[in-house]
């Protein structure tokens, strides 16, 4: 685990917003030379703080109008292997996120679909046929915002 100073936090916030910025631009924003900014970004990357960069796409403009969060409970725990379920669910292209969780459900899924009939197709043909799947709860996403997190 690495310690961050206020400038590191500002750099992380800036890269969360726009990861295409070069070290020189980041440096100019925070009063650092290009090499100093580059060293800080490298340190944050090497420490695993910045893992990947991700395209920020407007799903709706690309024809994906429906996002649904699913809570999934396995019906036959202990008998069916978790790996079977995980391997099968991960292979579904419409499944963007799979989290193993503790609580009311065993897994949290995020599903993207073109519209409600398309979601119904994914749910019936892909999700309900997964090995070991039991109770499923669906909540249709209405709005979403990502927060910068505790970067002071």
């Amino acid at each position: 685990m690495i310690d961050l100073d206020p400038i590191d936090r500002q750099i992380l916030r800036a890269l969360q917003e726009d990861a295409t910025q070069k070290a020189a631009e980041i440096g100019r924003c925070f009063g650092l030379s290009q090499p100093a900014a580059w060293r800080r970004i490298k340190r944050l990357t090497d420490a695993g703080v910045i893992t990947t960069r991700r395209l920020d796409l407007d799903a709706e403009k690309l024809g994906f109008g429906v996002t649904v969060f699913l809570g999934v409970k396995l019906a036959t725990k202990g008998r069916v292997s978790l790996e079977d379920f995980e391997r099968a669910v991960t292979a579904i292209p419409e499944v963007q996120l799979v989290q193993h969780v503790l609580g009311l459900y065993d897994y949290r899924l995020r599903i993207i679909a073109r519209d409600l009939p398309d979601f119904e197709r994914v749910l019936r043909r892909r999700i309900m046929t997964l090995p070991g799947v039991g109770n499923v709860e669906a909540n249709v996403l209405l709005s979403e915002e990502r927060r910068p997190g505790p970067l002071g």
Partner: protein
């Protein structure tokens, strides 16, 4: 509107946003200039909003991640707005979503340790306005986290 070439370009780029545009153009079988033109156009129409760095909070010592599923007291018409405005002020909240379904709002909360989580939960979350019920799912492992679109 987007055509097949646009989708092709995005599909390649989202699999690895770090790759040079020249490689994306090659994979799509078009000149680099065409690829840039398409990317600029998709940016202008708002389909491609940008590229964001993903932070691994665990590397910063935030080992606890909890999904809080919240029902609000909907007898008050301002419940959603006031709840969300107050939730934004909690630094450990990393995502806020609203839903149609059994759950009204979901908050993703991160904490360094379980005692730290308990402190955030008691002092910051339970004091948020208009909460009728809360259910927590504790994150154990991420099996898949791509957020890519099946283009």
């Amino acid at each position: 509107m987007l055509d097949d070439l646009d989708r092709h370009i995005l599909r390649h780029l989202q699999s690895d946003p770090d790759q040079p545009v020249a490689r994306v153009a090659k994979a799509a079988g078009v000149p680099v200039a065409t690829c840039y033109k398409r990317l600029d156009r998709m940016q202008a129409m708002g389909a491609l909003r940008g590229t964001r760095a993903v932070i691994d909070w665990r590397a910063l010592g935030y080992a606890v991640q909890v999904s809080l599923r919240i029902s609000l007291d909907k007898t008050d018409p301002r419940a959603f707005d006031e709840f969300i405005a107050a939730a934004r002020a909690v630094p450990e909240v990393t995502e806020i979503q609203t839903f149609l379904g059994r759950v009204d709002v979901r908050l993703e909360v991160i904490a360094r340790t379980m005692p730290h989580y308990q402190e955030i939960y008691r002092d910051r979350i339970l004091s948020l306005p208009h909460i009728a019920d809360i259910e927590a799912l504790m994150h154990v492992a991420a099996i898949k986290d791509s957020e890519s679109l099946p283009l």
